[in-house]
Symmetry: C2
Subunit: 196 residues, 2 copies
Amino acid sequence: MWAVTAEHPARRPGGRTARVRAAVHQAVIDLLHEEGWDDLNVALVAERSGVHQTTIYRRWGTLAGLIDDVVTERLTRSSPVPDTGTLRGDLEAYALQVADDVSGPLGPVFVRAAMIGTRDGEETTPRQIYLLERAVQLQAMLDRARDRGENPPTLLELMEIVQAPLYFHAIFFGRPAGTDHTLTLVDRLLALTGKS
Amino acid sequence: MWAVTAEHPARRPGGRTARVRAAVHQAVIDLLHEEGWDDLNVALVAERSGVHQTTIYRRWGTLAGLIDDVVTERLTRSSPVPDTGTLRGDLEAYALQVADDVSGPLGPVFVRAAMIGTRDGEETTPRQIYLLERAVQLQAMLDRARDRGENPPTLLELMEIVQAPLYFHAIFFGRPAGTDHTLTLVDRLLALTGKS
DNA sequence: ACACTAACGCAAAAAGTATTGCTTTAACTT
DNA sequence: AAGTTAAAGCAATACTTTTTGCGTTAGTGT
């Protein structure tokens, strides 16, 4: 019923397993581009990927679990925390990266999946681990700024003033914030900490 | 396939119809309290409410449609836009109201439902209408402040600086922001517009 | 190279979800 | 108070999703 992927730390990670995983992931991404979120189901993914339905159920348990895995995978790859040498540079790079993550056909899906995946009272999911790691990295980014003698915001402020509005846009307006507006959010964050 | 509720503007709104609607709504709310989001299905709602499954399908089409109706109904009731006489008073009252809306067992469900309900290319839903009406009311609240000679933020700023973080908290931290923190958000909004 | 077994494929069955045709109830109309 | 019909009940059916048992394939260790 649960994702085997996270259970055993990979008892046989070799060729075929990896190939199947890649094919299924690619199928999910393709289908999310072509069809919408609502028309996505395990049967479609199976057909597109050439992987049997049963295999998908056994490895990922549910469609939600699979999407969770895909989203986490994508986020983990495509997002090294920036280190440009200045606080503003780091924040702008980070903000644009997030804006980009929630762009395109997959953006709203990411955010939606992030929320839907959040189940109550269940054991730790790969994405929760990812979010935690990411929080640590972002904190390190802010710490670097402090070490340089700059006056960085807290992690919470970063999330509330930059991250939250970016997600909000993607969800409720159905489209991501533009570049200008994204940079405005960073200005707002810096103005806040620059003043007090 | 779609919610009949919104189709005909109520061709027979009388006693029984209203009773059935109330019973079903109550069952949904109760079940969301007791079980989680994930275990909720039409069969359970039918059993709990004493209303036949067929009736639920015919009136609301799907579980998502039903939840949409319940959420919209709740939001519509419990939230008159404040009019305290001062901008700060209005904003604080509003922020606390939102924080309260996303509190309790139903809070995350509300936010989640708000997102899930957002389907692409479908006709206007009752909740979209609600959100639009609400936006108009909030704009009116800000206009009142301007008429009094105060310097209110834009609607977008209100949503980004107050609303978005409150939702963000509820979703990602699994619990709503506290009173103190909610008021901090209002301070932040006022500081922003007070300065520039 | 050979044995071992995790992971996959396949088909059938089970469980869950949604639809349809018809009957009955009760709100509304006159 | 009698007729009309929207809305609800009921049961049978169709459709979709998920699970299960077993045979096959191909990484992995010796």
